[in-house]
């Protein structure tokens, strides 16, 4: 019981990170119908940017932890957003209107480029960081097993939920969000209403990349170790989450992220850690076969 509760806490935390990345996949898919395979690597770049910012701020002598973390978050999100914008501009926009596979191949190329860029510029070795938010609370102690809820886990859940709340408000209530939804439903019609669709697409990449950077920031603080390759696995899992939740659906991305996080953690806890990735990807296969529109995916009915 206590053990399962601990796994539940861990799974939710991990699921939040996947969910934040998955939102980026699902947004881009919604608006231009492509899977941005470089998105996981933007997440990785975000965590490296966070590391650089934390070390930089420390060397500048900023010792206030909350201040340092907020500055780090802003820095990582802003620069990662720039990466997202550039990736779209360089690798996808010139291929718009080309055959469907072209941007997909270009996305894989972009992913490899980002990985190698970070490997060469930052080195291939893993980068550890000491715990910045240590400690936590002990929920209960049963039969020698203490259930821990760390401050970091609380922070991850709170930050994620806050960001998702703001983001949901942005998409459903503001003119910008309305424009984004219009572009998602019918790009051509949106342009006929005077919407600069290229700009809206760029903004979608910028927002998705900023969210991925937040996830990267939390990943760094939570695990304390990053390398240039983390974007690949985390990216594919977040992609799985987006598909499971229903690609194109924002709540679906978060739900899918939570499920993948929980499945992975419980699988590791009760079966085998070595095969946790297999569990996540088996879900992808099952979802694609039996539930291709995902849990919250929509099957469009067209009226004549």
């Amino acid at each position: 019981m206590a053990y399962a509760l601990q796994q539940l806490i861990n799974g939710i935390t991990l699921g939040m990170i996947y969910g934040l990345i998955a939102v980026g996949y699902t947004m881009v898919y919604g608006i231009i119908g492509m899977i941005n395979f470089a998105h996981g690597d933007v997440f990785m770049v975000g965590s490296f940017l966070s590391l650089i910012a934390i070390l930089g701020l420390a060397s500048l002598g900023i010792t206030s932890v909350p201040l340092a973390l907020v500055l780090t978050l802003l820095f990582a999100a802003a620069i990662a957003a720039l990466y997202g914008w550039t990736v779209e501009r360089v690798a996808y926009r010139p291929l718009r209107g080309s055959f469907r596979l072209a941007p997909l191949i270009s996305a894989i190329g972009m992913s490899i480029t980002l990985q190698n860029f970070v490997q060469v510029s930052q080195g291939a070795r893993v980068k550890p960081i000491e715990a910045i938010i240590p400690g936590g609370i002990q929920l209960m102690d049963r039969g020698g097993f203490a259930v821990q809820l760390s401050w970091m886990q609380i922070a991850i859940v709170v930050i994620t939920l806050t960001i998702l709340a703001v983001f949901t408000w942005l998409v459903t209530k503001t003119p910008l969000g309305r424009t984004m939804r219009a572009c998602e439903q019918d790009l051509k019609m949106a342009s006929l209403l005077g919407i600069d669709t290229d700009l809206t697409i760029s903004l979608t990449f910028v927002i998705g990349a900023a969210l991925a950077a937040v996830a990267g920031f939390m990943f760094l603080l939570y695990y304390g170790v990053i390398d240039f390759y983390i974007g690949f696995i985390a990216g594919i899992k977040a992609f799985t989450a987006a598909v499971l939740g229903g690609i194109g659906s924002l709540p679906g991305a978060v739900l899918g992220g939570l499920l993948i996080g929980l499945i992975e953690v419980f699988w590791s806890a009760y079966f085998s850690v070595e095969y946790k990735d297999v569990a996540a990807f088996a879900i992808l296969i099952v979802a694609l076969i039996f539930l291709p529109t995902g849990i919250l995916g929509k099957a469009e009915v067209e009226k004549v």
Partner: protein
Amino acid sequence: MTALLSLSGVTAFYGAIQALRGIDLTVEQGEIVTLIGANGAGKSTLMMTICGNPRARSGQILHQGQDITQWPTYEIMRRGIAQAPEGRRIFGRMTVRENLLMGAEVAGRTDIDVLLQQVFALFPRLQERLSQRGGTLSGGEQQMLAIGRALMSRPTLLLLDEPSLGLAPLVVRQIFGAIRELNRTTGLTVLLVEQNAYQALRLANRGYVLVNGSITMAGTGADLLARPEIRAAYLEGGGHA
């Protein structure tokens, strides 16, 4: 005086297929002009080419004397041109209200409520359906919404692509009535594409006949209605030119 819209020698392609073969057409301020023709004649392509998608490969499109041939679509639409396109293209997962607000997006207008009231006066049905999703409306209501959405930008030129398609005769009359009303009371200029040639020619001041991407006839509505070849091809059960 310069025409509100004038096309000269406009050609357009879909891939290797030439859809428009040197179109010359003018629309004067305050007119209702109709474009009739069979399926696949290029009517909708012409409407979209005016909006820059697909872009005219050669020829010139002038709006209020300004050459807009190479302008991006969204900038053309910000000049007071609005289109209710083929297939209506309602945002199915947005409410009726949101659909209408999207129409007013360009101008960033503050008098949204006034604009909404004008649309409701024309199509009271939309007010009843305000918070319903666009995709749940009937075909006729969707057409009203498409026109209402186009009107929300307070256009000076309205491009209407087959507003009668698939609608019951009563609804068609209602929509055509609304177009006439708008033209009469606000002086709105309308370029109307129709397969329903009889209704369209009766409504319009002038008409053009489009066959295989070329304009083969032009004249006043009454003039075209009286021509035997028009009657044979478009009015009396014919469909081919």
